[in-house]
Symmetry: C2
DNA sequence: TTTGAACATTGTCCTACGTCAACGTTTTTG
DNA sequence: CAAAAACGTTGACGTAGGACAATGTTCAAA
């Protein structure tokens, strides 16, 4: 596993870096150009290298990330050294170590940009300030929380009691992008099985 | 605020019904008597029998429940007929089929009052009306969502890769009440193992 | 208080999946 | 561009925990 530093990029109000964030917001809430500009002003562009770690366990998460390019992976490592992948955030979606960000307790997880990535970063204070001062963003956050909860639920009871091969079928049904975009090893850790097992199951389709 | 009104509240014969809800709210947000009364007015007391089903899969969830007495269990049944318990709500806490309530899609789960119970019921419209019209309740809902998400996260990833006996130890550490209050069968379905396995493991501790 | 049904426990057996290892291929990096 | 590291696949084998069943116990309905 490779640890690399973030490279901060200066805020450029003229760049087209907010196009995807604009789509994200306007797809979800009624808004206007002025509110959008207020929202955009809180986000700063950052570029990361392959396998950069944005957060490691024990650190308190301070930032929320919107993915412009590349993708983010959230994963844990248990005391046996086994990785467990929780979540992937691809282009056009938000991701962070939400439990740590919410209650400002040390995180249990890593945040990693698997590929070289471009992220829009907003820190916690700015984020909650937006939530409390703009109606649109308050609603966005509510939707994020509701969706995050529903996704988590589906992963619990969707996988509960499933055989490994059923998990693979579930993945092909609901997140086929993962199988093309992400290494087998990461997919396996997302499904809670070993790469060897996943490899065998895929050959059975 | 005028004195007559306070007295009217003080002598309200039904006030005891809202005692636990009052504690729930005041433990979480700054509030005042008037806001509390507005909130209480949206909830209606209901009593249920042992093993009553408040929701079955395929129905759309319309209500949120606050437990005064007894408790609620949420569970699913997969096509093999195996129960999977997702959540228990005991006295003084909220519970419902949140995914269905949020997006008004057919639920995948049962809601059951395992014991004869007393519930304060609020329907979806009233609930979201409260969220949108009272600052206190808006914050309560945000806290509910944040906590629900964090709980779900911990259950998924805390259990991922754990051996069965470690799940039992986890339960004794973090939810010991379950082991005294709930049948072995339900505990087992909550931990994702069979009652036989749970029985064997408990004898090893 | 009785009675039947659901539950808890424990034994025997079985299997899905993990572990470990070998080996070829792809990717990374100096 | 070459060496090394990481990855994917496949085989041999071990084991945690499920399936099934027998027996005793608890508990709710009448």
């Amino acid at each position: 596993m490779n640890t690399r530093r973030l490279q901060a990029i200066k805020y450029n109000p003229n760049a087209h870096v907010y196009q995807q964030l604009k789509k994200y917001v306007t797809d979800r809430v009624e808004t206007d150009e002025q509110a959008l500009q207020v929202i955009f002003a809180h986000f700063k562009l950052t570029k990361t290298k392959r396998n950069a770690l944005l957060l490691t366990p024990g650190q308190v998460c301070k930032d929320y990330y919107f993915v412009n390019k590349g993708f983010i992976r959230l994963f844990t490592v248990n005391q046996a050294g086994e990785e467990g992948t929780r979540y992937f955030a691809f282009e056009g979606s938000f991701g962070t170590a939400l439990p740590s960000l919410i209650d400002q307790q040390p995180a249990f997880e890593y945040i990693q940009t698997v590929e070289p990535s471009e992220l829009l970063v907003i820190n916690r204070e700015s984020f909650y300030q937006l939530v409390e001062t703009t109606k649109q963003f308050s609603l966005i956050y509510r939707q994020i929380l509701e969706a995050a909860f529903i996704t988590a639920q589906k992963r619990i009871y969707g996988f509960q009691g499933l055989e490994a091969i059923e998990k693979v079928r579930w993945l092909m049904e609901y997140q086929p992008k993962l199988l093309t975009r992400v290494s087998n090893k990461m997919v396996a850790s997302y499904l809670g099985m070993t790469p060897a097992t996943l490899s065998r199951l895929k050959s059975k389709l």
